[in-house]
């Protein structure tokens, strides 16, 4: 009996040991399986595919992946524990999405630049001397490395996408909505309309963040006619001193700007009409559209809450009309949700803003509020937006990752270009500098814009300097040289920005966080500009330079 028990326990131990060995060997077995599958694919059967696979294997086995996996893990798994946001559930999810995706994007960019070190490593380690004696063209080598880095990045991005998606739903399920934290009375100013559901915060998350909404283009009224009329009136009145040096066109533009600014201001008890066209949503009453705005207020109410009335929909065009009384915190984006049947048959929408406090009406409210009269100004370029849902958060996230991938493909090509010319430390520095320039292009373009004067070029500045120097005019020469220097810097940076893509243009994180649609067209633009143009140029140059390079070169 004892023997039988001992034998059974020994069998159990053996079985456990076997299971443990199986689990330990699982990653390696999975890698072997994936690599075997890959070698059967059309790409895997090519030389480029073989080099790509070897690059991925290098990334996986040289612990690069492990380190970055840990860092990304900290970012996407650790952040929810530390981020509080504005205490709302919506804010927590938005903050998480914003920080996690931005950090992951940055880390993957660094990883991509780091992965391009593979070429430098092979040059220094001389593995390339064996590789280049095989029937592999130089361009195949560079392309293979690029494909490998891209596959590596795609793997990381896919993993990150799943983790972020999971974490968003985890936060949504575990983070209490603001009403549960402070009680529903605290949400008074946040409820979109009277009779809002118990958890407006949760509803807001579902309808304003975890969706893909598109905005109907809002076209500002044309103020040129008004500006022209005023200009003519002023001319007639002799407002302008004709001897003064002024540009009539500039004056007209200034007057148009003034008219627009006046239009954006709504005085107390006044109204403003906003017209939208091509609201291409499903017009059924079950569907919902959102009116989004951000208001600046002069003459703050004591509780910093703007009370107003909105009339949405034009019955004369076959649309339903809705009245919404709002109490919204000022200087923040606010959303009003109405059924989509307020959109007219011709896909237009009429929205009227009335600057009055509806809660001050004693007929409707037994305890009316004070009037709180204030002047409202819509300062955003699109003062009011009409949004409606066109897709899901999942699709949005996938398209955002695709845009990130477009950037990474360019960075991979840039890294390979740098390493095919320079040794690793220099190549790393160059790649990081270009990455920073690509990210800050918009900011830098604006910064250097004042340096660029339309009537002067580097050469004309240089000629000025030469003339002043010849004439012995030190002050003029100094000024001309300064102009030459600034012009030179401006034009050089301009030329550089012509070559470097603008990453900010394809930064979709804030769009996703805002629940806006990361459109397919945008992704296609990213593929076109970042992959087809910039990446192709960088890769082509890398291939050309590597073709000329002696891979067994010795340093003297």
């Amino acid at each position: 009996m004892t023997v039988a028990v001992a034998s059974r326990s020994s069998r159990t131990a053996r079985r456990r040991w076997r299971l443990l060995r199986l689990l330990i060997g699982l990653p390696a077995a999975a890698e072997r399986g994936v690599s075997r599958f890959y070698s059967w694919t059309p790409l895997g059967r090519t030389r480029v595919g073989a080099i790509a696979q070897q690059t991925v294997a290098e990334g996986v086995r040289m612990k690069i992946a492990l380190v970055f996996l840990a860092l990304i893990g900290v970012c996407v798994l650790g952040l929810p524990l530390t981020i509080q946001g504005d205490s709302t559930l919506t804010g927590a999810v938005q903050s998480y999405l914003s920080y996690a995706l931005t950090t992951v994007g940055f880390l993957l960019a660094i990883l991509t630049i780091f992965m391009s070190r593979t070429v430098s490593d092979e040059l220094v380690g001389k593995q390339i001397m064996v590789l280049m004696t095989k029937p592999v063209a130089r361009w195949q080598y560079i392309l293979g490395k690029w494909v490998g880095i891209c596959i590596f990045n795609a793997g990381f991005l896919t993993f990150t996408g799943f983790v972020v998606f999971g974490m968003v739903h985890y936060i949504a399920a575990t983070h209490p909505p603001i009403e549960e934290i402070y009680g529903s009375t605290q949400m008074k100013g946040r409820a979109d309309e009277p009779g809002a559901p118990a958890s407006a915060d949760r509803q807001r998350l579902q309808t304003e963040v975890l969706v893909a909404r598109t905005a109907t283009p809002f076209i500002l009224p044309d103020f040129t006619e008004a500006a022209e009329a005023e200009y003519q009136q002023r001319l007639k009145e002799g407002f302008y001193d004709l001897t003064r040096d002024y540009d009539p066109q500039e004056e007209r533009e200034r007057l148009a700007g003034k008219a627009e600014a006046a239009w954006r201001v709504v005085q107390p008890l006044s109204r403003r009409l906003f017209q939208f066209e091509k609201v291409l949503c499903d017009r059924s009453a079950d569907n919902e559209i959102q009116i989004r705005y951000k208001a600046e207020v002069f003459g703050y109410p004591p509780d910093e809450i703007l009370r107003a009335e909105w009339v949405i929909g034009d019955p004369s065009k076959g649309a339903a009309r809705y009245h919404a009384y709002t109490r919204h915190v000022i200087q923040r984006y606010q959303t009003i949700k109405v059924p989509a049947n307020c959109v007219a048959e011709d896909q237009t929408l009429t929205v009227m803003f009335i600057n009055r406090n509806p809660y001050a009406n004693p007929e409707e409210y037994p305890i009316p509020e004070p009037l709180y009269p204030c002047t409202v100004q819509f300062i955003e370029s699109a003062p009011v937006e009409c949004l409606f849902v066109v897709g899901t958060f999942e699709g949005n996230l996938a398209r955002l990752l695709a845009l990130m991938m477009c950037k990474l493909t360019f960075l991979a090509a840039l890294g390979l270009l740098a390493t095919s010319v320079f040794s690793w430390p220099v190549a790393c520095l160059v790649s990081l500098a270009f990455y920073a320039l690509a990210g800050m292009q918009s900011f830098l373009t604006e910064a250097i814009d004042p340096m660029d004067t339309a009537d002067a070029t580097v050469f004309s500045r240089l000629a000025d300097f030469g003339r002043a120097a010849m004439a012995g005019d030190g002050a003029a020469a100094s000024e001309a040289f300064q102009g030459f220097f600034l012009e030179g810097v401006g034009e050089s940076l301009g030329l550089l920005f012509y070559v470097i893509p603008n990453f900010a243009r394809f930064n979709a994180v804030e769009v996703l966080v805002d629940g806006r649609n990361v459109s397919l067209v945008w992704v296609l633009q990213g593929i076109g500009q970042l992959v087809l143009v910039s990446t192709t140029l960088a890769l082509g140059l890398a291939m050309l330079l590597f073709q000329r390079r002696e891979v067994a070169e010795i340093s003297l």
């Binding site: 064996v130 095989k134 029937p135 063209a137 002696e550 070169e553």
Partner: protein
């Protein structure tokens, strides 16, 4: 030009100058090198460190570009990718990927030659057998000893069954067994008709395997030619027999003095080469199955190697047969290589017997120089000629072979 006569490698006025960052010439690594390697040759490139051997090889492989001069491999520029299908290269150190194991390494290089998976697998296993590392095939190269890595380096060089094999210091880092195995492999590949360029400064290795050598110094070719012609000491004759008595040696000395008016330069017992003795000990250990984590007994040459060459030789032989049948006396006839017989023991015995009959007073033994090791590669044809001459000279017409 026929396949047979087209040189595998041809260089003319080849120069390589290394420059510094400012493009100023700093080192002339190769100067005006003219070299030709013909099909089937085992060509040795010799020289001290910094003589330009590796630079020459790197130019042949398209890893460096010549500063001046022309270079052709299989009649094409070395940078031509198609040329590389026919080349195998073992660099001076095993520049392999540390994170791949042996099997993955060979598979990877096989894929670069676009070998089908079945062929890759077959060749990988055969080559692992050949270099004796099949049992360590799942270990990463980074964990290998230098010698083991060299063996995988050799295996990768053979994965494509190359027609032209370039071996840069192939025995560096190898133990004597590995060195012997590499040399055996080189000889075997040579027999299969492969062309081999061997660069080394281990002269014994080159001497053992090469047909033709070129010696570089300061980037210039200082000597070149057939190794037999370059190394033969035609002024000396070596006869190797079983152990002789002092008396017999004295007889031979008398005979030489009488017939040739010459004396024996040295007399001694030949020693085993340490390499042979070492290998004998290790082979006995292998047979005794003593455990080792290193290289085990190596296998045979893979059957896939030389497939192309074998088929080429076969077709040439068949073509020759057909020609013999069609025109037995005409046409271009390739002279067969002379078959050299080793001197038969009977001949030597007869020689000694005749010497005994015609004994004369020996020269004073004290005058003979101290014993020294004779040349290892004695020209056997010359031996035979001397023996014949001696036999004739002794009046022993009856003893002529």
């Amino acid at each position: 030009m026929s396949q047979k006569t087209t040189p595998i490698v041809h260089t003319a006025g080849l120069c390589k100058v290394f420059r510094d960052f400012w493009r100023r010439p700093k080192v002339a690594a190769v100067k005006d090198l003219n070299m030709e390697i013909r099909p089937g040759q085992i060509f040795g490139l010799l020289g001290p460190n910094g003589s330009g051997k590796s630079t020459t090889i790197k130019m042949l492989l398209g890893l460096l570009y010549p500063s001046r001069g022309r270079i052709a491999v299989f009649g094409k520029a070395p940078t031509d990718v198609s040329v590389k299908n026919r080349i195998g290269f073992l660099p001076e150190e095993s520049y392999l990927y540390r994170f791949l194991d042996a099997r993955e390494t060979l598979d990877y290089y096989g894929r670069l030659f676009r070998l089908p998976e079945r062929v890759r697998t077959h060749r990988t296993e055969k080559l692992l057998d050949m270099v004796g590392l099949r049992h360590e095939a799942r270990r990463r190269i980074g964990e290998y000893s230098k010698g083991m890595a060299r063996r995988i380096g050799l295996a990768q060089a053979l994965i494509n069954d190359p027609e032209f094999l370039i071996l840069d210091e192939p025995t560096s880092g190898l133990d004597p067994i590995g060195t012997r195995q590499i040399k055996d492999v080189i000889r075997e590949l040579g027999r299969m008709g492969k062309t081999i360029l061997l660069s080394s400064h281990v002269l014994a290795d080159v001497e053992d395997v090469c047909d033709e050598i070129s010696i570089l110094y300061g980037g210039q070719q200082r000597a070149a030619g057939d190794i037999k012609d370059l190394l033969s000491k035609t002024e000396l004759t070596q006869i190797t027999t079983e152990k002789l008595s002092e008396e017999t040696i004295e007889h031979i000395r008398d005979l030489l003095t009488r017939l040739e008016k010459k004396d024996i330069v040295s007399v001694g017992a030949p020693r085993h080469r340490l390499e042979d003795f070492f290998i004998q000990v290790v082979q006995e250990s292998h047979r005794a199955n003593i455990a080792t984590s290193g290289v085990r007994a190596v296998g045979e040459m893979p059957d896939f190697l030389g497939e192309r060459t074998r088929s080429l030789v076969q077709s040439l032989v068949e073509a020759g047969r057909r020609r013999d049948v069609a025109a037995p006396t005409g046409g271009e006839v390739v002279e067969p290589a002379p078959i050299v017989e080793t001197p038969r023991r009977a001949v030597v015995e007869e020689l000694l017997a005749s010497a005994k009959e015609d004994r004369r007073a020996p020269e004073a033994q004290e005058d003979s120089p101290p014993p020294a090791e004779g040349p290892r590669r004695a020209p056997v044809e010359a031996d035979r000629a001397v023996i014949d001459g001696l036999l004739k000279g002794s009046g022993g017409g009856d003893h002529s072979p």
